[in-house]
């Protein structure tokens, strides 16, 4: 990642967090009163940063270092905001305690207060419920997504809390920006206004429990590079009705005429349902996103793919001849799970620069120590990994142990919860 892209996210978020704190920093107030004010505005700034990072806009994502990086920091800033905001009412109570314990109790008794404080409590409780569910395990995606709206409600209630408390005009920008970002995200991404209309043209079955869907653009096509992914929502056709949710899919082919191919593995309720998708189904597509294979690979590489993780590498091989030597290690459970195997073997036979090591590993954990090339062969290579998190983590550990610098190991995690 270029240094500029590396710095834009921390600089922009630092500004969003620092500005309101600096603007509202109290002078000549008691310690706990100051803590309460600073924690309120610090939480507000962190929430702003977290909100900005959930905006799904391809140019913004490219500028900030990729959607996957944005979502990672969206989670971190959101959690941090919650932790900081929990201290806000406690600091107010501690401030009141200095006057009298009864006053401290009253400070934490919303029924003795008015609308501004009621809304503050409602916001905190909505955030508490939303955070508790956001980090909960094994919640179905659709339920998780619906309950995640509690966090949006918490932001709206927090904004009204601030407005009712009374803000100096200059500080109004913070809550207004929060509302603008959420409205933008909802209108452009969630309703699909910024998505491009496509239609399913062909459906193939490259492996068990996997379909390859070729999409034809119905408006301006999406210009993507191999290794990138899109967010696609499958809608309805004559007999098939998609689940309408946006899910990330890596592109397995990008046609000159704007056709896109997506490989879809049955991993959840929606993708399982998509195994029955048929030509003619309407699809809305947002993107492209991702920086997995960089702008232009500039040297020899090692690619390690597990299962559906072969998709970005297939896209590169379909895009044209390789310009640098590549070793591709493709691991899959059994021969029925190996996708595009014939095509990969043909590509390997057709160009000397590609060495293919495709193997079925069965149900046991693959012995990566034996599979990954020795240190001497790894020297000077960029290593790109795509597959299940367990496989990626294990492969990264082996590569690091063999002296591959972390800057030469590249992978993305599709953890968009």
């Amino acid at each position: 990642m270029s240094p500029v892209r590396l710095l834009t996210l921390p600089l922009l978020c630092g500004l969003l967090v620092g500005l309101p704190v600096w603007w509202a920093f109290p002078e000549e107030l008691g310690f706990w009163r100051s803590c309460a004010i600073v924690s309120g505005w610090l939480g507000c700034g962190l929430l702003l940063a977290s909100l900005l990072l959930m905006v799904r806009e391809p140019r913004l994502a490219a500028w900030l270092g990729g959607l996957e990086r944005m979502y990672r920091w969206h989670h971190r800033f959101g959690t941090l905001a919650y932790l900081v905001l929990l201290t806000h009412p406690l600091a107010l109570a501690a401030d009141a305690w200095e006057e009298s314990p009864a006053l401290a109790r009253a400070a934490l008794a919303p029924w003795q207060q008015g609308w501004p404080v009621w809304l503050g409590w409602a916001s905190l409780l909505a955030m508490m419920a939303g955070m508790g569910l956001a980090v909960a395990r094994r919640l179905p995606y659709a339920a998780w997504r619906g309950l995640h709206l509690l966090l949006a409600l918490a932001v709206v209630l927090g904004v009204v809390h601030l407005l009712l408390l009374g803000l100096d005009n200059l500080l109004l920008w913070a809550p207004l920006l929060a509302v603008a970002i959420m409205a933008g995200r909802f209108v452009l991404a969630d309703t699909g206004l910024a998505a491009r209309p496509h239609v399913v043209e062909r459906v193939g079955h490259p492996a068990a429990a996997m379909v390859e869907v070729v999409l034809r653009p119905l408006a301006q096509p999406i210009r993507a590079r191999p290794g990138q992914f899109v967010l696609a929502a499958f809608l309805r056709g004559s007999r098939f009705r998609g689940c309408g949710e946006y899910h990330p899919f890596t592109l397995s082919d990008i046609g000159e005429d704007g056709h896109l191919a997506l490989d879809i593995k049955a991993l959840g309720d929606c993708t399982r349902h998509l195994q029955a998708v048929e030509p003619g189904v309407a699809v809305r597509v947002q993107g492209p996103f991702g920086t997995f294979l960089g702008d232009d690979p500039h040297g020899p590489a090692l690619w390690i793919a597990g299962g559906i993780g072969i998709t970005p590498f297939v896209a590169v091989l379909r895009h044209g001849k390789l310009r640098h030597p590549v070793t591709l290690i493709y691991l899959y459970r059994d021969s029925a799970d190996g996708a595009h195997l014939e095509e990969l073997r043909a590509a390997s036979a057709g160009q000397a620069g590609l060495r293919l090591d495709a193997r079925a590993t069965g149900d046991a954990r693959p012995d990566l120590e034996a599979i990954i090339p020795a240190a001497a062969e790894l020297a000077g290579r960029d290593c790109h990994l795509c597959g299940p998190p367990g496989l990626v983590d294990a492969a990264v550990a082996v590569l690091l142990a063999r002296g591959v610098p972390r800057s030469r190991i590249h992978f993305e995690r599709f953890d968009f919860r």
């Binding site: 406690l90 314990p101 009712l164």
Partner: protein, 120 residues
């Protein structure tokens, strides 16, 4: 890690809230103020001479308060409270936010700034 941190922080938060509530309940009630000396009579005209943020008196419910030291702590924006400096502000005090009166805690807080009674 995030899950553990979230649940732990939430638990600690409610424990702290419970501690403040328990502390406030078990604390002895504030001692009755000693018999107040007769309050100085202050005319509204004199109150009106203290109408600045750095010298702010208000007449509320027949009493006069010098709330200058409290102004920086007041939760609303200055433009809401400052215009009432130097004035009879009982109605404004009783009709905070959509006609609701201030809380009993605010009444208790206000008594700390009492300086006299409003003369006829």
């Amino acid at each position: 890690m995030t899950r553990l941190l979230t649940y732990l922080a939430t638990g600690i938060f409610w424990l702290a809230v419970a501690a403040f509530w328990a502390g406030g309940r078990s604390a002895p009630p504030p001692a009755e103020a000693p018999a107040a000396p007769a309050l100085r009579a202050i005319a509204l005209a004199e109150v009106a001479r203290h109408a600045a943020p750095e010298d702010c008196w208000m007449a509320i419910g027949g009493k006069v308060y010098d709330i200058t030291p409290y102004l920086p702590d007041h939760p609303s924006r200055p433009s809401i409270i400052l215009p009432w400096c130097g004035r009879e502000a009982s109605e404004a005090y009783r009709t905070k936010t959509k006609g609701r009166p201030h809380s009993p805690e605010a009444d208790r807080l206000l008594s700390a700034y009492l300086i006299g009674r409003l003369s006829d």
